[in-house]
Symmetry: C2
DNA sequence: CTGAAAGCGCTTACAG
DNA sequence: CTGAAAGCGCTTACAG
């Protein structure tokens, strides 16, 4: 009494009505909370009559289980994180869609982290910015090294995607990059091309994808008995259209420009295509073009794009399946590296044939 | 006893070591849990010396707060959901990226729901499949009606995106569709075109976007004194490239084909472009083409695509800002409809000029 | 098949 | 500035 606040009786704000809990449902239905919990979670040992009564009460009160409480009690959240560089890079957008779908089949919800490929953000992800919120992580790093990952103190189950990190610190789903790049290059050579260029080389340590695809490219040249010409290998800073466009321009300025180009991804190829058409070159008559990823844009451009198509659905499924195994603790010791199929999809940018 | 399971004593699995909690940190640091909590949450009233000791203990034990417990206690999760039809439709991928970024500035994490535009899934989203997990929802519905949304019993704060639902049941961020479509059509007419077609009409109730953009198209014709020709309006089942390609083919088969086409989104335009080039028509010389959305694909095709560019960053910012206001309870009564700017980006598909 | 009760790990009045 | 304790809403042994 006499306290300054005494004049303001603690009056519940309109939003303050208490949330409906299990207890309220139990009271209305005239059963114990255990029974309500059993009904909510679909357990068997409840008589149909009791179940019906509980369900009526749930509907009447519009009860929804509080997931924070459930998670706290169960010790898991049912949420996994997907960390990718950018959501609007078509390859990652397609992958994200498939992973969300695959996760749903396991009753899991996906939360998305965009790292922008920045080392700092990737370290945060690896160290578990959201580790107490998520049960597992599917991670496609761009800047992190295997050492970074080996040093991580967070023990949230993790599955890696992409070429960046091999040999081990975590389960890993990949495609056979060397073989796929070799196939694509051999296809160009089989068309009779002799000056086959490559766009997408990268010097820095981040360029593991580049390294593998370049190896495949070189293996194809070697197998075909063609010389390797350093001048036909165009390095890029990143794997966007603009980089491909610029690289193609440089190749066209060579004394002896290429008659075919294998681009290390589709965005590079689409950028290169743009430069070729802009400068009045016919594709594939003068320059044949192949990419990697099979993103949807390549299927509808003019010409349509020949490309290596990794089985993205399978990548998503395997990634989620591996993660689920890790999370449940049923995974065997040691990490696994799973190789997913790919196929070469031949379209107009190498054959000139129209889509029927 | 005698039960078959009696032979297997309940032995804690190696993974079962208890999680490090506030209590453990408090014990190691020699302070109360309250103090640790204060340090973790960055509150002021802790002496530097105590703070340092706590921080050392946190590091030593590699302590991470349990978010489920925090959320349970605080009554919120810091997670918002973004529900869109598909993540790999470029427009939604771009929007998702921007919304994730905007949410991050408010310390919020985004969880993504893909509805596939299915009515059933959209109803689940509206009714709060994850309502106890999320603090708010940014929703771009395709099948739901205003009535569906008015009837929802879930009271999770929600912000709507897209043209589907106007007038009211929730806060809403949109662009001026009619005005924008009119501008795009007038631009085509200003080029001297007289048979301007439209691709993207839809009969069904879902076609609110279609209705508005068609209205803008008609308004432009009227303003320019051109007749409205029903035959030049091509309906589509969906807004994908394939629909645009098919619609364009039908328009080209007319006795008097169009000399310009306004497509109600960029994917339709890219599909239409494909048909035009495939059939040997010059763009824009024979047929000029404009789209809507300004997705990245349109910036790099050949020719590049003239399009209405909504300010997507602003859409994302406004959507998150509105939602945050609702969640904090500071929003005024009544729902708001926020119009975001757009501009017409003129590129080669109407002017034929090359990008410098 | 059902009930009463403990406890998941936090935050936050309430006292000091 | 710090401590002891209640309670968020669940799930789940433990009894019956």
């Amino acid at each position: 009494m006499g306290e300054p606040t005494a004049a303001t009786p603690p009056e519940p704000s309109p939003d303050d009505r208490r949330r409906v809990g299990l207890k309220d449902v139990a009271r209305l239905a005239g059963v114990s909370v255990k029974t309500v919990s059993n009904v909510v979670n679909g357990y068997v040992h409840v008589t149909p009559k009791t179940r019906a009564r509980v369900e009526r009460a749930i509907k009447e009160l519009n009860y929804r289980p509080n997931l924070s409480a459930r998670n706290l009690r169960r010790g898991r959240s049912g949420i996994i994180a997907l960390a990718v560089p950018e959501l609007d890079i078509p390859y990652f957008a397609e992958l994200a869609r498939l992973i969300v779908a695959a996760a749903e089949e396991h009753g899991l919800t996906v939360l998305i982290d965009q790292t922008g490929g920045s080392r700092h953000r990737e370290q945060q992800v690896a160290e578990g910015i959201r580790d107490q919120l998520i049960d597992g992580l599917i991670f496609s790093p761009l800047a992190l090294t295997a050492d970074d990952l080996s040093a991580r103190t967070d023990d949230t189950p993790m599955v890696l995607l992409g070429e960046r990190i091999h040999n081990g610190p975590a389960d890993h789903v990949v495609v056979h990059n060397v073989a796929a790049a070799k196939e694509a290059t051999l296809h160009l050579i089989a068309l009779g091309r002799r000056r086959v260029a490559a766009i997408g080389a990268q010097d820095d340590a981040a360029g593991e994808t580049a390294r593998l695809r370049l190896a495949g490219y070189r293996a194809a040249l070697a197998e075909a008995g063609l010389p390797f010409d350093e001048g036909l290998v165009a390095p890029v800073a990143a794997y966007h259209r603009a980089d491909g466009a610029a690289a193609m321009a440089r190749l066209l300025d060579l004394a002896e420009p290429p008659d075919a180009v294998f681009c290390f991804n589709d965005l590079l190829a689409l950028g290169a295509l743009r430069t070729l058409l802009e400068r009045g070159h016919e594709v594939p008559a003068e320059v044949a073009l192949a990419g990697f990823d099979d993103i949807e844009d390549g299927r509808y451009g003019t010409p349509t794009l020949t490309t290596v198509s990794p089985d993205k659905r399978e990548i998503a499924r395997q990634a989620v399946a591996l993660l689920v195994e890790r999370m449940s603790g049923t995974a065997r010791r040691g990490t696994r590296e799973i190789y997913v199929d790919h196929r070469l999809v031949i379209r107009e940018s190498t054959t000139g044939r129209k889509i029927p």
